[in-house]
Symmetry: C2
Subunit: 277 residues, 2 copies
């Protein structure tokens, strides 16, 4: 991908509905910020999302940590996504064989495919994980991100693993819209003599982004919005506690100020990247 292309220019060349929706939302709201909401009760969950909604293109969820998850919560989440114009990304990290992930995606208490525009998967089971998820998600106009690498210490997603992840994505471009990663994947995994398909343009969503912290003591490592968007060419910054702090003492104005601070840092890094000299 030409690093000077805008989100809008790239949207025009995408085929997956969720990828187009995400790029258009980023362009329309001028935000490449995704807030990761990792709390265990739905009151805090919805309050944080309602607070940060105006500043984000995407909300990342782990609904399997919510003690009081139910269908009403999903309805509220979907209402907030419409009210504030953002997409929903359930960070489920599917990692089983095709038949099982298809059931996990469609069925169960969570029924992820029914409300999450985007979800993700580890490529470790091989292509069957993508095929299983695509059998459910493609007819519902969903998109999938693959975890090509991870930002934790000692992660095994590196080297040949990352190469294979990108190859699996290339053979399923109708459904795989991009990666959870720290860098562009354009040249990665190409075998000698292979060249990139001219329409290939995977989105890269970067976790582990922080303006004030370096690590969490549990193996997570942090980089700044400018490092991931300008230097590494990533498309979306994912930020969690750095924005909403302690959910039990939610200060909406403080949360919104932090969200705006990250939104601006991410957007400025993007403008710096696409600027043509």
């Amino acid at each position: 991908m030409d690093r000077h292309q805008t989100y809008a220019e790239r949207s025009a060349k995408q085929t997956n509905a969720a990828a187009i929706q995400l790029l258009d939302t980023i362009d329309r709201k001028k935000t490449n910020l995704c807030v990761s909401v990792d709390v265990t009760n739905s009151k805090d969950f919805l309050a944080i999302i309602d607070a940060v909604g105006p500043y984000v293109c995407l909300v990342k969820t782990h609904v399997d940590i919510l003690e009081d998850f139910n269908r009403t919560l999903v309805e509220h989440l979907v209402q907030l996504s419409e009210k504030h114009d953002f997409l929903i990304f359930e960070d489920r990290k599917f990692a089983d064989i095709g038949n099982t992930v298809a059931l996990q995606y469609f069925s169960g208490v969570h029924r992820i495919a029914s409300w999450a525009h985007i979800t993700n998967a580890h490529p470790v089971p091989g292509p069957s994980v993508v095929k299983g998820l695509a059998s459910v998600g493609l007819p519902m106009k969903r998109g999938l991100l693959l975890l090509a690498e991870m930002s934790t210490e000692g992660a095994l997603a590196r080297g040949e693993y990352t190469d294979e992840a990108v190859r699996i994505a290339r053979t399923h471009r109708d459904f795989v819209i991009g990666f959870i990663a720290q860098r562009r994947m354009e040249g990665v995994g190409l075998r000698p003599g292979e060249t990139m398909h001219p329409t290939e343009d995977f989105l890269v969503l970067a976790p582990g982004v922080g303006l004030d912290v370096k690590g969490d003591g549990m193996g997570q490592q942090y980089r700044t919005p400018r490092q991931v968007v300008f230097e590494s060419g990533c498309d979306v910054i994912i930020v969690g506690r750095g924005i909403y702090g302690k959910p039990e003492a939610l200060d909406v104005q403080a949360v919104q100020a932090q969200a705006e601070r990250y939104r601006k840092a991410g957007w400025d890094a993007y403008l710096e990247r696409v600027k043509r000299e």
Copy 2:
């Protein structure tokens, strides 16, 4: 591990409570069969488990595919595990950073740690996934299996990945009781000059076991109980549809006949392995 050691002899040397419980159950019931119950409603789920209960040491669940999961279902599952004397293994395949997996294991609608004796994780995020799960599971006397390799076509869990998985397990032997794999891991991942700790004895649970089928068209490949237990030295055989067929037309007698057929095949393969000439 000396392949002639019995389950009872190995139990005496284990330190993790779940590993001891599992080995003792296998020895007491003379079964190394684990039935994997992959259905989407609790009526079928409980009916299958009640039918196969007498023949198994372990029931493997994917509770996140159950449409009508609730606390009552968990109570019934735990009652069946006591009635029929088996352990419960939630095949969650945790694969996130430490903080997140700790919440996913303890919290949410499923509260897995409260009822599953054993769960599993992909080592792909690095050691933090084990540390996060251990912070919840060890005080509750639970055990963890790592996915050191996978039986699907094109799986990325191989080579250096498998080596690293085993190394992570070795540094967390209080909580990691073994592997989901197709073979013993004794020599795997040892660096030049390193030798195996004399008390190392990881359990190996083998999925993809079938007596009648070769593949499912979604990338799953099958081996016989004798191949995995006698030839490859695995400890537990995991069988799914091969035993219970179509859940909507459950024939309890037929299911029990199949369970007994697999139990006997797995146990005979074990007796053949431990026999001293």
